[in-house]
Symmetry: C2
Subunit: 583 residues, 2 copies
């Protein structure tokens, strides 16, 4: 038996008990005649003591030679500490060691195993197994496990069945790129790894499985933006015989369950916002509503003067920055530089200071008088002491730019408290999205999403106007889940594929099995998927999903610890009937 | 709202209630003036009634036209049935329908959606979504979900943390074949799909995670034997600071928890058997101990006569078939044919009848007298009325042959009751296994398994004799789990790789990260993995794992429903810098 207790549980109640502990040497203090060693495991830290009077000389000497991260086992008696540490659960006691065994030595770790480490991201990723010993990473993984269990408890308790769907499926070129897997037994053919179990969960609905969920890995071979992973985890859910309202209610309950059981936070009924309103008021389909700073559209009150920049703009839109009139001219210039960075892309920014005396001072006083500026303030909700920031340009671009500015300012103003949770449903998404590069429409959610009743006809005349039974769950400015009511009849699905540019042959080859299934008694159904990595990181009060993944990949899709991907031997390639293109 | 109740919950207590149900038409009986329709969903079947007197003519006619598997919604009143069906939970009532909506029509399904269907395996796999509507398949999937939840509840309750390990890892040619995944972003390089999360769970132990589990898909590109799947699910577990005894105890508790909570069966402490004893007594490392028929080794009591077949044999071994003396000569001849089938491969079988009068009659009476045969009976435990069956040959082969015969006879004799559960630990497996084709030793469990203390030296002199800290959990003649105490120091791991034929360079390239990790303070650790597919099927009283997988692949590794794997477009191949070998 390696231990009678763990390193986090002993306290004054255990005094005089003989115990056995195992763990890692966190640190030691050597006063020559007395040595204290902190022993650490997953559960905490306990102080060990060796001294001249009560410990054998030989053991004292061995204790003095213990290095950081050595793995040791000790036996000894729990005694009261002379100087107690009220900040540690085990701070009342220490262990007077009678037996010391070195279970394994350790090289000096390449970074300190402390909450605040001296290791940079790269070295921590290479030695991720050491990084995981650190409380912040360890606790994030334990937190993730707890969230997953709570999800399963809630869904199982509500009659959902977890069904495992296959990982080796078929590639469908539509949408993001698939990772593919050559089949040795079917030479020249390939499986694909699922981007989501979408079609399988719909087939489960056709199969009568009614309430399905799965916590499942999904795969997308995309060029990685910051904080995207080629493999990620979804809480994938689907229900039959439901309308959108049923789905919103049950997954709102799930989210509320998590906030309560994981974070101890009670949240009221989630507000709902139309997609169009989200875009108009926040420039964004995943608004952070922990704070206001709603957009005020100013076209009608700015385009009556000779200011050409505004007059030429499709949209003129502003926000009020609380207390922003305190900014110096230099600070405002910096803000203007910020919106002009290529990542944001604005051409400039107009502002209007709301002075305490009720007057205004703008960067365009040449064009606009006090009455005009008063309207800007009114429209953006600016009060005395605030600053109105105004951007202009084409609607989509300027919304994205002002949204970025809004989030940046909120961060600077401390309005994005990670302990505050503001969930929000965004509903009535467009069915299709115009790809401005190609001029083609593609499915905004996915090709299985149903249009709003009665809007199917619009597909021919005004495809961009068709709204879908599609919804996102937003938490603190992050999309944590999204879903839709699905198409469940073959004709609508075929129409949909046609509008997405599939020939009937392509549709049949790629999704024939699904359209066949719809002919054999498909029930109305819909669902939702949460991004678990994101959900966990938001609930955990952080925004970097990598910190909640045990062994993440870097931005080139590499696992630097195991050094993957790697080259294959020729024999393996031969078996797969593959060769590498050299050019 | 599509339904107020499901199709399995209404009973006499609901009489006079107005309800809404949705589901599939199971069947209908049309008497002209009255039509009964059974509506089915995941939860059960409810009888609907439409009749001339109480139903509109138009609706009665529409009811008459409902086809099998149409998806319908009905509103109506719960009424008492004239002729009750006590075999159905809803058999006391029926619904007098006031409103009928066809939600979706259905083609006639290619096989009947009944517990006993007329559909063969192939057609049911192609239309798996219809097969899942059948109770046996549906209930198996629900059963699987329940087992998984119980596993998670038990392990979480015992402090295990579920950690997701990566699916895109590195190929290691040792062992079974990997499925590989070409990396587009790292041209010419490949990921591999994990055969198990073995090295990652060991790294989690190095990382201090202490008690880990994961229910996880694993992948092996093997030529598929019957009832093997290229993707399968493991309950993967690992613990640090444990000895073999700790691991056996906790996973015995888990198994007992499942038997109790899933099957309602209480099981005492699991027996333990040495691997050597299992091979000697059952010819097999996963003996079914629901019944006896233990092997009796007969060398010393058969090789003193002139029967050359036995005298030349490395092993002469028999079993007693209870009541087998009742077999006719013809039946015994058939048994002999059975053991001579190529799948079993025996050259013949000697037998001795144990007559009721205490005499014996054998097929080798020319060589053996009554005293000899009495010893055979004693050694195999045969009683009057039994039949002793004896095989001979080289030890490994003859044990496998007699084991196959033992299982076949037990099945014929009804000794393998799927409702009886006989778990067993088989311990002290050999560390290495001789590959008789190549003459090389390879790891019996895997290269990370530790030899028994003090046996490392034997590796040089008698590698086959080295025993490992390795154990299997056997249930009813099936290996449901297996594991080992791992090596946790670099030197032993390097020695192990050397004996498995790795050069130091190969070991470093493939497993350098693990051996590096062992230098930074690796704790003693070990673990176990259950095969979930197998476990679920055994607990479910069946032996075909495919029946417990929602979307299984066939013996060519194909998903015949979605028709995967499939060819890729040239563009996809180009992006991956791959080309197919044509020869």
């Amino acid at each position: 038996m390696y231990r009678s207790h763990n390193c986090g549980e002993l306290n004054a109640g255990h005094i005089n008990k003989e115990v056995t502990l195992s763990g890692w040497v966190q640190k030691s203090r050597d006063k020559g005649f007395i040595v204290w060693v902190d022993i650490r495991d997953r559960y905490g830290i306990t102080q060990l003591v060796f001294d001249e009077e009560r410990t054998s000389k030989e053991m004292l000497e061995r204790a003095q030679k213990l290095g950081r991260e050595f793995v040791i086992q000790v036996k000894g008696k729990v005694i009261e500490r002379a100087s107690k540490n009220p900040n540690m659960p085990t701070g009342e006691i220490e262990i007077l060691v009678s037996e010391l065994t070195i279970l394994n030595k350790a090289l000096v770790p390449p970074f300190t195993i402390e909450d605040e480490t001296d290791g940079g991201e790269d070295v921590r990723m290479k030695y991720r197994y050491l990084d995981i010993r650190r409380n912040p990473v360890k606790n994030n993984l334990i937190f993730r496990s707890k969230v997953s269990m709570e999800v399963r408890n809630f869904l199982s308790g509500n009659g959902f069945i977890e069904v495992e769907t296959p990982y080796l499926i078929k590639s469908t070129p539509e949408g993001a790129r698939d990772f593919v897997v050559p089949s040795r037994m079917n030479g020249g053919q390939f499986y694909a790894l699922p981007q989501s179990p979408q079609t399988f969960k719909q087939l489960l609905m056709v199969g009568g499985m009614d309430k399905y969920f799965q916590i499942v890995k999904c795969f997308r071979d995309e060029d990685l933006r910051a904080d995207r992973q080629p493999e990620f985890t979804q809480i994938d859910c689907e229900m039959a015989f439901v309308e959108q309202e049923d789905i919103l209610n049950i997954f709102e309950d799930l989210t509320r369950h998590l906030l309560k059981n994981v974070n101890g936070v009670e949240v009221d009924k989630f507000p709902r916002m139309l997609y169009d309103d989200a875009m108009r008021l926040y420039g964004n389909d995943k608004p952070d509503i922990r704070f206001g700073m709603e957009f005020g559209e100013l076209n009608d009150i700015t385009q009556h003067k000779d200011f050409k920049v505004f007059n030429d703009a499709e949209l003129v839109v502003g926000i009020a920055v609380p207390g922003g009139n305190a900014y110096t001219r230099k600070e405002i210039d910096k803000l203007i530089d910020w919106v002009k960075r290529p990542q944001v892309g604005a051409l400039g920014m107009i502002y209007s200071r709301c002075n305490d005396d009720g007057s205004f001072k703008s960067s365009v006083d040449k064009f606009y008088d006090q009455d005009d500026l008063a309207k800007w303030a009114e429209r953006t909700g600016a009060k005395s002491g605030d600053l109105v920031c105004v951007l202009s340009g084409s609607t989509n671009k300027v919304r994205a730019q002002l949204s970025a500015l809004r989030m940046e300012l909120a961060t600077r103003l401390g309005l994005r408290d990670p302990k505050v949770f503001a969930p929000l449903w965004v509903i009535d998404f467009p069915l299709l999205e115009l790809d401005e590069e190609t001029g083609h429409y593609h499915a905004m959610h996915h090709p299985f999403t149903s249009p709003k009743p009665g809007q199917l006809e619009l597909l021919d005349t005004d495809p961009g106007a068709v709204k879908a039974n599609a919804y996102d769950l937003v938490l603190n400015g992050n999309e944590i889940g999204g879903g839709s009511i699905r198409i469940h009849d073959k004709e609508t699905q075929a129409t949909m594929f046609k509008h997405l540019g599939f020939t009937p042959e392509e549709a049949k080859e790629q999704f024939g099995f699904l359209m066949d299934a719809f002919q054999y008694g498909a029930p109305p159904h819909g669902g939702l998927a949460f991004g678990l990595d994101r959900l966990v990181s938001i609930l955990g009060g952080q925004e970097t999903i990598r910190d909640f993944i045990a062994f993440p990949k870097n931005n080139s899709g590499r696992d630097v610890m195991i050094d993957a991907p790697a080259q294959l031997g020729q024999e393996q390639l031969d078996e797969l009937k593959l060769q590498l293109k050299t050019k």
